[in-house]
């Protein structure tokens, strides 16, 4: 993934060259996504030692069911729990983990898992079909108190214990994405000693799973310390190392300031850091640190139209915006070459992603023509008008990703060249939810991570929260279609059709892929990112 190209605006020739360079870059990244840039220098892994990892936020809750702080909470809880299946980051396919095989009914309402024999929780109790039932019933009982997990249980009917190692989960409505959900940490299995406690007592302690590490202690806003689980013997096949983890212990340190994380890594005080800000990537790379880079699967950062507002009802106006946004320039100016320009509404690490870069070309003249056709004529101040109304669009955004503001300010400049004005408005999460509910916005900037195409249903289906009020029967049909079939090829067809419709009708305008970047010291090895682009279980990690 090394590239001699440096970001910055250097004229058209440079941009074109970069664009050409980016194509093999993207392809190469597809093949080896999630692997570190430099190998472990031929040394044999060494058992023992402590890994100190710098997190960007306090996890808040290390219960994999809880909302916690999102990524950083999952970095920790993933180490404690295993899941029924594993999504192989190299292929996006599900492979056996705690379940050796599984089967979905044709209507995607019933899922049967056969469990691996001999697995135990760290409290000593064995993993059985009853454990799975207890876990899933517990999630449904907890409802919104298990926010990360309850979302996969829409239409849950029951879990049936078929025999000691066979369990059947039934839904009243189709839920094809449940299979992928079974690989997430959110559905990682918790031991009976955890389930015996009220949900309220599982956030900072008492999280017991079958994972390769166990919880030693969690001090809020400071650190989480994990110890190696002895006798671990059920790592999935995508890990190089089976059996007990190499590391004696893992210390996650909460270091909120990005500059301090980088400084602590550079001064040798910690061994690895997450959430490396784009502006620090080049300096770390050039001074010999290993960067672990993987695009986040799911909905890329995109601008989504609120189609209940008159301005963006007209597909020509939306398409004009798509053509006038120079995503390449955004990437080159505010990000690093590690971030890829979007090639679809889904990131290329999402299963069933399809390459639509041909439909995402930058063409200012075509954009102007579309606006002319739609009846928007340039006004005296450069902003287009129609029937006395200005083509001025209220655009909402959250500061959940550092470069958002600069990216949007650049897009604002780009769109001003075709006579479209963006009014940028940033909100806190609760404020934004109210704006979405009221529909008082034209464009919404954001992304949504999930390693399954079902993320499109969450974002764009009119049956869901329906933030964007999209009126497209074909799209809705594709979104429900993918939910209703267990046939992989048929499902992929629906998800690809949905991507095409979203991009071609410019319901949402993809710009770039959110990308997770970790940095490791030269003495830290074997750290990878999982299919969800979050920290993988640290079975393979070791320190020299």
């Amino acid at each position: 993934m090394k590239s001699s190209y440096r970001p910055g605006r250097r004229g058209r020739g440079r941009v074109l060259a970069a664009w050409l360079a980016a194509v093999p870059l993207a392809l190469a990244a597809c093949g080896q996504a999630g692997t570190a840039e430099t190998s472990a220098a031929g040394n044999a892994p060494r058992a023992g030692g402590t890994l100190t990892f710098g997190l960007s936020t306090d996890p808040i809750s290390i219960n994999p069911r809880g909302a916690g702080a999102g990524n950083d909470a999952l970095y920790v809880s993933r180490q404690l729990v295993d899941s029924l299946t594993e999504q192989d980051p190299a292929t996006g396919k599900l492979i056996p983990w705690l379940a050796t095989k599984w089967e979905a009914s044709d209507d995607a309402r019933t899922f049967t898992f056969t469990l691996r024999d001999g697995v135990t929780f760290s409290d000593g109790s064995p993993l059985t079909a009853q454990s799975v039932k207890d876990n899933f019933d517990d999630i449904v009982r907890a409802g919104a108190k298990a926010p990360s997990s309850i979302i996969y249980f829409t239409g849950y009917k029951a879990t049936e214990v078929v025999d000691k190692l066979t369990v059947k989960i039934e839904f009243t409505t189709p839920n094809a994405a449940f299979l992928q959900a079974s690989s997430t940490a959110a559905l990682g299995l918790l031991g009976p000693s955890t389930l015996a406690r009220p949900v309220e007592e599982r956030d900072v302690a008492n999280v017991v799973g079958t994972g390769p590490f166990t919880l030693d202690h969690y001090t809020k806003n400071s650190e989480v310390v994990l110890k190696r689980r002895k006798g671990y013997g059920w790592a999935p096949a995508d890990r190089e190392h089976q059996g007990d983890a190499y590391l004696d212990s893992v210390v996650f340190k909460v270091i909120p300031e990005a500059g301090v994380r980088t400084g602590a890594l550079q001064s040798g005080q910690i061994a690895a850091i997450g959430s490396v800000p784009p502006q620090n990537v080049q300096v770390l790379r050039s001074s010999g640190y290993t960067l672990v880079v993987r695009p986040n699967p799911g909905n890329v950062f995109s601008l989504t139209a609120n189609e209940s507002r008159p301005l963006l009802k007209d597909v020509r106006v939306r398409q004009a915006l798509a053509k006038a946004i120079n995503a390449q320039e955004v990437r080159d100016t505010v990000l690093t070459p590690d971030f890829a320009v979007a090639t679809s509404i889904l990131a290329r690490t999402t299963p069933d992603w399809t390459d639509l870069s041909g439909a995402l070309t930058f063409d200012v003249e075509a954009a102007k023509k579309l606006l002319d056709e739609a009846g928007w004529t340039p006004g005296a101040d450069g902003v287009r008008e129609k029937d006395g109304e200005k083509l001025s669009l209220v655009t909402t955004w959250l500061s959940n990703f550092g470069p958002n503001q600069s990216a949007l300010e650049l897009i604002q400049q780009q769109l001003s060249k075709i006579g479209v004005k963006l009014e940028l408005q940033t909100y806190t999460v609760p404020e934004l939810l109210q704006v979405y509910a009221k529909g008082t916005f034209d464009l919404a900037w954001g992304n949504l991570s999930r390693a399954d195409g079902d993320v499109l249903r969450t974002n764009y289906s009119t049956a869901g929260n329906n933030y964007y009020r999209i009126d497209d029967a074909g799209l809705e049909d594709a979104l429900r279609g993918q939910q209703s079939t267990a046939d992989g090829a048929e499902r992929a067809g629906h998800i690809q059709r949905a991507q095409k419709l979203i991009v071609e009708k410019a319901h949402s305008i993809p710009v770039f892929e959110l990308t997770t970047i970790l940095a490791l010291s030269s003495k830290t090895h074997g750290i990878t990112l999982g299919a969800d682009s979050r920290l993988q279980q640290l079975n393979d990690a070791w320190v020299s």
């Binding site: 990360s148 301090v260 001064s267 806190t428 609760p430």
Partner: protein, 316 residues
């Protein structure tokens, strides 16, 4: 000390606590959304149904009329019950008690440093005879107030941790980890104390009783460090509450920069996630600290300056 003087101060303190609670309640409830909607706003929460969210609102009592919520919470708080965090479900008292020692360490050392440096600078600046040096010293406090703690903390880290490796950049362990945060925290308070004391010293040194002392043959050091300081320190003592308040407020930035646990980080996180019970617990706690210090100052003041007790007695 007259009992009525003490009683009045205590009643005033209770009023401040009630006002802090009420104002924080009103502000938090005027914000759009509620703690439960924050859950729905997370990446993974987009698919949570409105019914599931409403069930949680009901459990937390957020669906009841605001006045009922206010009175219930007020009654709970009077009984020392602040509820549980919406995010991590821990009792608020436990969270504050866990975070307090870490903040107390840096605030305690910070206060000590602030008093030492602030007093030292003020006395030195008013003592030196060279005008240019006096001007130079007196220009330090405004500079100290103007330097952003955030920037100053990062600077200290850069030099003493990343470059020289003398102190750890991250964490709460040991005495070494307390030094840089305490220095960062002390800077604005030291500057405030220095400014105030220097001003009050120069006023005091022009008082007639200083002339009397000088006429009686007292030397300059004796006049400066015995006669003048005693009187000049009184106004500086009045702002003790303010200084401690500043230390608590400064802990938000300082603890973030130095990756420490503590009340400041707890506040930042709770505000960010709209964790109402935690924010309210912290506001009331901060008000309590503020009130206790002011109460202590009010009660000590008459002992230091008999004129105040006499005046107070005359009025009541």
């Amino acid at each position: 000390m007259p009992a009525r003087y003490v009683a009045r101060r205590v009643v005033q303190a209770l009023f401040v606590l009630w006002a802090a609670f009420t104002v924080s309640f009103v502000i938090l409830y005027m914000l759009p959304g509620d703690p439960v909607s924050v859950l729905a706003g997370s990446d993974s929460g987009r698919d949570i149904t409105p019914e599931q969210l409403d069930a949680l609102r009901h459990e937390y009592g957020l669906d009841r009329p605001v006045i009922i919520q206010y009175l219930t919470r007020l009654a709970d708080v009077v009984h020392g019950e602040f509820g549980r965090s919406v995010q991590s479900h821990q009792p608020v008292q436990t969270m504050i008690a866990d975070a307090l020692p870490a903040t107390a360490q840096i605030a305690g050392l910070g206060l000590l440093l602030a008093v030492l440096f602030g007093t030292g600078l003020a006395l030195a600046a008013t003592y030196v005879s060279w005008g240019w040096l006096r001007q130079a010293l007196l220009s330090l406090p405004p500079l100290g107030v103007a330097i952003p703690s955030f920037w100053f903390g990062l600077l200290l880290l850069q030099v003493f941790s990343f470059r020289l490796g003398l102190f750890p950049a991250v964490g709460n362990e040991g005495l070494a980890g307390v030094v840089l945060p305490a220095v960062t925290l002390a800077l604005p308070s030291a500057a405030t104390i220095a400014q105030l004391l220097a001003k009050s010293m120069s006023t005091t040194l022009r008082e007639p009783y200083i002339e009397t002392a000088r006429a009686k043959g007292a030397g300059r050091p004796r006049i400066h460090f015995r006669h003048a300081v005693r009187n000049a320190a009184l106004p500086a003592l009045t702002v003790a509450g303010l200084v401690v308040g500043n230390l608590l407020a400064g802990s938000v930035v300082t603890e973030t920069v130095f990756s420490r646990t503590g009340l400041g980080r707890l506040t930042a996180l709770a505000v960010g996630t709209q964790d109402i019970p935690v924010v309210q617990g912290l506001v009331v706690f901060a008000a309590l600290v503020f009130v206790l210090i002011n109460l202590a100052v009010d009660l000590v003041y008459p002992l230091l300056d008999p004129r105040i007790a006499r005046r107070s007695a005359a009025v009541s």
